[in-house]
């Protein structure tokens, strides 16, 4: 989601937006409130336009300075300089560290009505110690996206367990050596933490004010060992995702599956435009037959920053964006989100599949079916960036020189704990 290769395009788009909005922005006078909003969703400008038409007194200006973790770094830096935006999109895993850095504001007083529109498991991602730090935008259960044409060509059944998945990978490798089941991505930890959650790992949990960090526990090691074997047997490719190499592999059918979040259809259009209609989605394979648990990859909230000059109006926009039927419908249609708001999950727009999956009419039914079984960690740690850069470096090194994935997890655990202790967090 956050490769540098995209950044170029994103920066360009952001620059165009800035210049595009620059013309009209200066006209804001009188009782009119101007809000700045950082968000990297494709087509979010069309959703913001709906708000701006309906609310002439509160104008929202959208910019797209970066995506994902890079936006988090920009938010922290901008906050230190005292010129952060009023609103920003933040992925759930980054929210605790932004709260800890004092970057996002407590908006409990403005969202008393808003929070009633979400169920408890969803709210847990944005409410800490009883304070609300963001309005959930979407939930992204981890699912198995597969090339139905490739599966059909080589007679492969859609795997329902990880055992089946490994068998299918071996069959595919035997019948078509040039095609890999998937690639092990060491650059972006999102999919891998999702697999950890599915297996029951709980990387961060808390009792009182004391943290417990368990990145290298038995559940995590089980997942790591499983993938190490697939890599060692040459059944999955080793190159990182979201790179030109990967785009080409996804586009030309060198990769048969993608373990990804429910937001994948909107991304696939840009990654592999030639594969429209060739993909299908299935629930993530299970560790034991019939176990329906899955993990999550991403999912975001709209946050109000501590630098916001009009927090009440900003919170009003964040609530509208994520609870108003028209706003959610536009986001499902334009951005392919699976909404976080309870009522949003019954909107009529969900009865038609995303544009990139024209043949899979039950796309959102499947997502709706697995969403309640998506497990997350009890909490995301206050320094996930350290954990994630540890993942990237350690697993990349293990792939490069054949090291052990289990040892990589041990190293990530110790660097994460060391950093938390250094900052002054209580870690048991």
């Amino acid at each position: 989601m956050k490769s540098q290769w995209r950044l170029a395009g994103v920066v360009l788009a952001g620059a165009l937006l800035v210049t595009g909005c620059g013309g009209g922005g200066a006209a804001a006078t009188g009782g009119k409130v101007d809000l700045s909003f950082w968000d990297w969703d494709p087509n979010m400008d069309q959703v913001v336009a709906i708000w701006n038409t309906a609310h002439p007194d509160i104008h929202v200006t959208l910019t797209n300075p970066a995506g994902g973790d890079q936006l988090v770094a920009k938010m922290v830096t901008a906050h230190q300089a005292g010129n952060g935006p009023d609103l920003a999109k933040v992925e759930y895993q980054s929210l605790p560290s932004l709260v800890s850095n004092g970057v996002v504001a407590d908006i409990s007083q403005y969202t008393a009505d808003t929070v009633r529109q979400f169920d408890e498991p969803t709210l847990r991602s944005t409410r800490f110690d009883g304070k609300v730090y963001g309005v959930p935008q979407d939930v992204a259960p981890l699912m198995l996206f597969y090339r139905k044409d490739i599966f059909q060509q080589y007679g492969i059944e859609v795997p329902t367990t990880w055992q089946d998945y490994a068998t299918a990978a071996a069959t595919l490798h035997q019948k078509a050596p040039a095609v890999s089941m998937t690639n092990f991505d060491a650059a972006d930890p999102g999919w891998f933490t999702g697999l950890m959650q599915q297996a029951g790992a709980d990387w961060w949990s808390a009792s009182g004010d004391t943290w417990r960090v368990d990145i290298n526990g038995s559940a995590s090691k089980k997942v790591a060992d499983y993938w190490q074997k697939l890599v060692a047997d040459g059944l999955v490719a080793k190159n990182p995702s979201f790179s030109p190499q990967w785009n080409k592999q996804m586009n030309d059918g060198s990769l048969a599956t993608w373990i990804s979040g429910a937001w994948a259809p909107a991304q696939l259009g840009g990654i592999a435009p030639a594969t429209k209609g060739k993909w299908a989605v299935a629930p993530l394979p299970a560790w034991s037959p019939g176990d329906r648990a899955t993990g999550i990859w991403g999912g975001s909230a709209t946050t109000v920053t501590a630098d916001a000059k009009h927090p009440a109006e900003a919170a009003q926009f964040a609530s509208w964006l994520n609870t108003d039927a028209e706003a959610i419908t536009a986001q499902i249609r334009q951005i392919n989100i699976y909404p976080a708001a309870t009522a949003g999950r019954s909107l009529p727009v969900l009865s038609s599949p995303p544009a990139f999956f024209p043949d899979q009419a039950n796309f959102y039914d499947l997502v709706k079916g697995v969403a309640p079984t998506a497990r997350s960690f009890s909490m995301w740690g206050p320094n996930v960036t350290v954990t994630f850069s540890g993942y990237t470096d350690r697993f990349a090194a293990a792939l490069q020189s054949g090291g052990s994935f289990g040892a990589a997890l041990d190293a990530v655990q110790s660097s994460t704990v060391a950093d938390m202790k250094k900052l002054g967090f209580a870690v048991s």
């Binding site: 800890s100 110690d129 190499q245 470096d393 990349a396 792939l399 490069q400 020189s401 002054g424």
Partner: protein, 293 residues
């Protein structure tokens, strides 16, 4: 009257250097001083599970101790030196070769060729690296990336070095070409009358006369190698071969903006700057003594 003239004469030089001094103060000394202050502090959190209140506390030499004990930083320095060992001789050597070849009287299309060799210098490092990235990746490579692994554990050093050399040769070649121009034509004529070949002239006359310019090019390239960042940082997302702490400047960037540990990054920056100043001082002394001999 005389007093105003004297004042004007004494004030003018200061007025002329003022813009440079102001810029230097604002963008080098002040941030440098701020980094020095940060390097003696540490961020501590308190107040509940998420530590919603953050304070900067005095940390003495703790950050410096941590930096010196940081094995990843030392490995990064090792990798930087390895790339430098490839880049420095290759850049200076190729620049010298091209400059000498273009100086041979019967060479054709000299101007066009010189411009063509110089052109890569005009391409910003990040853009050049994006382009080379496409050339290296197996799926998109037109130069045999599907047969040669440009991102193997050894190959990656050459892949990174290649981009630096490609970008820097042209500039150094221009410096050497200009220096060659200043060699008096009488020297060339005398050599030719004595029956010296073009090769002999290059080896026995031009290279010795070029020494100061070669030394300067070497110094530029050493300084460039210390600042290695754009090429590996832009190649990083393409492969597993480059970590986020691959060279010292990437480590500093990672500490400051990914791990949010500005204090550790500041201490590393202070030490790295001191070391870089030392290296360039030693290099320039060495260069001067060689140039004089």
């Amino acid at each position: 009257m005389a007093a105003t003239r004297r004042l004007r004469r004494t004030a003018l030089p200061y007025l002329l250097v003022l813009p440079a001094v102001v810029l230097f103060l604002l963008f080098v000394l002040v941030p440098g001083g701020y980094a020095l202050v940060l390097s003696f502090q540490a961020r501590k959190v308190s107040g509940g599970l998420l530590g919603s209140s953050t304070t900067q506390v005095f940390a003495g030499l703790d950050n410096y101790r941590a930096v010196l004990a940081d094995t990843e930083l030392w490995s990064g320095i090792g990798r930087m030196v390895l790339v430098g060992v490839i880049v420095i001789p290759a850049t200076v050597g190729l620049a010298l070769l091209f400059a000498l070849l273009l100086d041979v009287p019967r060479v054709r299309l000299a101007k066009v060729t010189r411009l063509a060799i110089f052109l890569p210098y005009a391409v910003p490092g990040v853009i050049a690296t994006l382009m080379w990235g496409f050339l290296y990746l197996p799926a998109t490579s037109p130069i045999g990336g599907d047969h040669v692994d440009f991102f193997s554990s050894v190959g990656v050093f050459f892949s990174v070095a290649n981009i630096s050399v490609w970008g820097a040769v042209g500039f150094n070649m221009i410096v050497l070409c200009t220096a060659l121009r200043s060699v008096p034509t009488e020297v060339h004529e005398a050599a030719r009358i004595d029956g010296c070949t073009e090769l002999g002239m290059a080896l026995r006359i031009k290279i010795p006369l070029l020494r100061p310019a070669i030394a300067m090019c070497a110094l530029f390239t050493v300084l460039g190698s210390l600042q290695l960042f754009n090429e590996p940082n832009t190649l990083k997302p393409l492969s597993n071969a480059i970590s986020s702490t691959w060279v010292p400047l990437m480590k500093i960037y990672d500490d400051a903006f990914v791990d949010s540990d500005l204090n550790h990054a500041a201490a590393t920056s202070v030490l790295f700057t001191a070391a870089a100043l030392l290296v360039s001082w030693v290099a320039s002394r060495f260069v001067q003594s060689r140039a004089a001999s």
